[in-house]
């Protein structure tokens, strides 16, 4: 009877692991460990109340995060505000614009510095683009606007690879998607659901929007919490949570 000893088993396991890692990327195989604490401070969203609800003081770095909403629920505004804060913390930022709707003027009005921003205007090859950007350590935050039904989205396996790359490079990947599309990215550490409550009016003019944000999934703190945000339209830079 051929009984392998422990050293032989260990050698074979190491070989297999290195083969899998070569084929699917470094880090796809990991030893089971308790959840690691955040090495770096979280990325503030610009809304102190939302930061408090998220449990770690903002968006956890090195993770895939997903924000889901229907139109006019403040999703773009929230993403631009996060992006402005990331730039404020000296992070290069990237916006992947699959629906080709990026509004530079509105971005500036939310405090985004255009000279420190890469905008990828394509709905193709997303899997490769995301993996290359995330694994390059060249950007601290990647916002991927996936609200284009024709976009070539990564497969489940690719999402896992991207999540692994994000974890090792401390890059935050924020995905924006529509609730109609029912696109749920499994490795996402955080999922936010935004819903418009009402428009804020001053006289006849619309001055902002009141939005309810629900934390549907959270790997770092209890999920299920809700917060109501007031998003004014007229604010330029600085003050964001009125």
């Amino acid at each position: 009877v051929n009984i392998m000893n422990a050293a032989e088993k260990s050698r074979r396991l190491t070989e297999t692991a290195s083969r899998v890692s070569r084929k699917w990327g470094a880090g796809v195989l990991r030893l089971a460990q308790p959840p690691r604490p955040l090495d770096h401070p979280a990325l503030p969203t610009g809304f102190p109340r939302l930061d408090a609800v998220l449990g770690v003081g903002g968006l956890p770095r090195g993770n895939i995060l997903q924000a889901v909403a229907q139109g006019t629920a403040g999703l773009t505004t929230l993403a631009l505000t996060v992006l402005a804060h990331a730039q404020h913390h000296h992070e290069a930022a990237t916006w992947i614009d699959t629906p080709l709707t990026f509004d530079a003027e509105y971005a500036v009005s939310r405090g985004v510095q255009l000279d420190k921003l890469l905008v990828v205007r394509s709905a193709n090859y997303l899997s490769d683009v995301l993996y290359t950007l995330v694994s390059s350590r060249g950007t601290g935050l990647v916002v991927c606007d996936m609200r284009n039904p024709a976009a070539q989205l990564p497969t489940a396996t690719s999402w896992t690879q991207i999540a692994t790359a994000a974890a090792s490079t401390e890059t935050t990947l924020l995905l924006l998607s529509e609730s109609r599309a029912n696109l749920l990215v499994y490795p996402a550490a955080l999922r936010l659901q935004l819903q418009q409550e009402r428009w804020l009016r001053r006289g006849d003019a619309v001055s902002g929007v009141r939005v309810q944000v629900e934390v549907v999934k959270n790997r770092y703190a209890p999920a299920g919490r809700c917060v109501t945000l007031t998003i004014p339209f007229h604010v330029r830079g600085g003050a964001l949570d009125l």
């Binding site: 804060h85 890469l118 990828v120 090859y125 390059s136 350590r137 007229h234 003050a239």
Partner: protein, 402 residues
Amino acid sequence: VSRIIVAAWLPFFNAATYRTHHQIPDEQPLLIATSRMVAACDARAAKAGVLPRMPTRQARILCPSAVVISPDKTLEETALQSRLTALAAITPLLEYEEMGDPKRIDPMQAGVFTFDLETLRSAEARKLAKHMRDQLHKLSPAYGMGLAGSKFTAFAAATQGKDLLTITDASAFLAPLPIGLLPLDAAWERRLRLLGLTTLGQFAALPLDAVYRQFGKRGLFLRQLAAGFDLRAVKPFQPQLVEQVCQTLDYPVRQRAVFDALLTALASDLSARLQQRGLMGRTLRLALTGENGKRRERRLTMQREVSGVVFMDKALRVLVEAFQPFGEGITAIDLTLTDLVPFAGYQLDLFDHRGAQWERLTQAVEKLSARYGRDAFTRPVERDRTARLIERRYGFQPFLMT
């Protein structure tokens, strides 16, 4: 040894605050109202039929002799904070809440102070409660006080309006009281009344599983309260750190330049005070009073705490822009900074930080551009800010050109 909780119930508490501040005689009815809606009123106006959230026009018809004052959140908060600070000398285990659900109209507009005297001996607790009563009598002429072993029972005892009602048998005391005393919203109360439940005793007598089936977990909690079991703790009072500067002007200011100079002076004053205390703050509130006595307020939360005059001045400019044009002179400026924290330095943004990270990003874009072409990887640039067509104001240029 059971706990001793003292609750003080002060009807028309908000109106009493305004009456004291504006020194309005006791015999004069009082309305706290905007031009559209009543926010609060005193007992005399309430007797005439005035209710909160009633149109001001209707309230004026019901009570024509009433003095009308504009609501002032800053005054309410400041007065409450100073009262809580004074009462915290008795015990820091002190809570204040306005009665019931905020969506419901409370005709008595009461404020409730709850004190936890922990395990003090009964005689001493009564002595201390009398001392509290003397303190609270200054705040509101009408009041009720209750002493019991739990928060809800003490509150229910206080609402009876007695000088100091001590409860030893909670369930027997609560049984005949109306079910409206529970913290219910209007829909819940209606539902209970439709089921024929009008007293706390009737609700407490329901079987647990029936309550759970009908009302869920919240129902079980309410049933416990109705039966006299209330394990909720009184949250310790933490004084809110606030810095405030006010300026009342001798003549109304109409010129923007003068107004801006006044704001800068106030910001400078506020900044000096903060730096003296070693604090910085995050939420700035600016209240302006017009010639007709109308007060408008705007609030701004900044990205980070500040104490410097330059930042404060900049934030004030943003706040001023948020006001609609006044169309009249300004007679008073009130500037408040809250969310104060101890001073801490931070790195100034003096240098371009596009160092190694930017280089790595450029390399990644070079790789991607080689695979998929340069046109998809862009940088937004300003073209003509004054262009009438939005799409001409900004454009995109290939990222690698830069």
